[in-house]
């Protein structure tokens, strides 16, 4: 950022990238045990790994969502770093204000410390549905902050309602399957990360990660933190309650989402996309759908439709792998 003083920009030490899981384990925990999330909660795991990667020089903002409601019981928070609640619509606006305030205080000589890494940890509703305008404005103005979207594909906080990122065919309490609409949800989800990249020419770094690949995810958070300007990390965080999974199937489900091509791991840097998972053949999407109870009502023709949607997405990304639905 041009408004920062030179020495403070230099004083902000870049977070080194992690080479392996052993280096990742040695980092301190800043999202500690003792919170009210479900057993096997994917968003809690994504929060923990992000805090672990972020380190002490960071501020976290939590827009309303399950990672706000389930973590903050009366007088008790699990964060060992500064954390603040924002409304679900305005996470981008609040982070813009905090970032601009630090810049102004540094410019006026009132703050002598290093510039902190400011993270927004918004759910899919708080980033791609209700909170999209504030998030977009923050990325448009290129404030020095990191926007992390933990994507659990529903509004889990209020009891599994449909959001803009809920996939086609998923059961939610707003989209129950019935005789008239046998496939439950009729709409296809937004492509949030790529959409934000396309919208904002100032975006220097964006990435999509999954909790099933923790070191890859932590490195992406660190890369986003090292950027001077707005950065986006979209993390696939599996919700065992909302998706109808056993608690111990969460990481399996995240892995299958990547292996079937439902969720792409990518990095966007210097105007170019790189894809981290490019196998010889993707698995058929049925393997991913059959372990989740929210897709239990789907018929083979719906599986075929989802497979076509996924193939289209892979084709658009330039990944040429033919996949057939079983």
């Amino acid at each position: 950022m041009t408004t920062l003083l030179e020495e403070q920009v230099q004083a902000k030490v870049d977070l080194p990238l992690l080479a392996n899981i052993h280096q990742a384990v040695e980092l301190d925990e800043y999202y500690v045990m003792g919170h009210r999330t479900c057993a096997g909660c994917g968003p809690a795991l994504s929060y923990r790994l992000a805090c672990k990667a972020a380190g002490p020089n960071s501020i976290f903002l939590g827009p309303t969502g399950c990672m706000y409601v389930a973590n903050t019981s009366y007088l008790c928070v699990p964060w060992a770093v500064p954390w603040m609640h924002t409304q679900i619509t305005d996470a981008g606006a609040v982070v813009s204000g905090i970032s601009a305030a630090y810049e102004a205080r540094i410019r006026k000589g009132k703050y002598k410390g290093t510039f902190p890494n400011i993270y927004v940890f918004a759910g899919d509703g708080g980033s791609s549905d209700i909170g999209i305008q504030a998030a977009s404005a923050m990325m448009y103005r290129d404030h020095d902050a990191i926007f992390i979207c933990y994507d659990n594909e529903c509004y889990s906080n209020t009891g599994i309602q449909t959001s803009a990122q809920t996939p086609y065919g998923a059961w939610t309490t707003f989209t129950p399957p019935g005789p008239k609409i046998p496939e439950a949800k009729k709409l296809f989800p937004k492509d949030f990360a790529r959409g934000m990249i396309a919208l904002h020419p100032a975006m220097q770094y964006a990435a999509a990660a999954s909790i099933s690949y923790p070191v890859d995810y932590m490195n992406k958070v660190r890369k986003a933190a090292n950027i001077h300007g707005a950065a986006l990390v979209h993390v696939h965080a599996i919700c065992p309650k909302g998706w109808g999974l056993r608690a111990n199937q969460v990481l399996l489900c995240g892995k299958l989402a990547v292996e079937t091509g439902t969720f792409h791991l990518f990095e966007y840097e210097n105007g170019e996309y790189t894809y981290q998972y490019q196998p010889k053949a993707f698995k058929p999407v049925t393997e991913y759908l059959k372990i989740q109870d929210r897709f239990a009502h789907l018929k083979p023709e719906h599986h075929q439709k989802i497979q076509e949607f996924i193939n289209q997405g892979l084709k658009r990304c330039g990944i040429k792998i033919p996949v057939e639905a079983v």
Partner: protein
């Protein structure tokens, strides 16, 4: 059945006892938040076979609650059972099947229990022996 409960009580200072919204103290890094014990949720307890364990540390990064710890100078895997919710992700992620899931009621020490969190007189009376 005889069950040994651990005693966890947190005294709230007067200035912190607020009805709605405010600033609260953070826990320490690598610490814990003793006002939200979650070990009582557990149905299956993770039990590690240290002889099978190859110290790949996958389970440490797989725990959503950070309850899988490095103990014995970083040479062994241990669990903080006061907070472990028993989700079984450590068992799933283990490449050598060293972590077993044992039903919680098989153990004599039972589960941690949070009694009388907010030290109110009528709550204390409820839990008095």
């Amino acid at each position: 059945m005889k069950t040994r409960f651990k005693k966890y009580t947190v005294e709230i200072p007067e200035e912190m006892a607020i009805p709605f919204a405010g600033i609260v103290e953070s826990p320490k890094p690598n610490g814990e938040q003793p006002m939200m014990l979650t070990g009582g949720w557990r149905i299956y307890r993770p039990v590690i076979d240290s002889e099978k364990c190859v110290m790949c540390k996958s389970c440490v990064l797989a725990c959503p609650d950070a309850t899988v710890l490095l103990v014995d100078g970083g040479n062994k895997i241990g669990f903080n059972l006061d907070y472990c919710k028993g989700c079984g992700l450590c068992t799933w992620v283990c490449p050598v099947n060293a972590i077993d899931r044992v039903p919680e009621l098989d153990f004599e020490d039972g589960v941690p229990f949070q009694d009388a969190l907010f030290l109110l007189p009528h709550v204390e009376a409820l839990y008095a022996d």
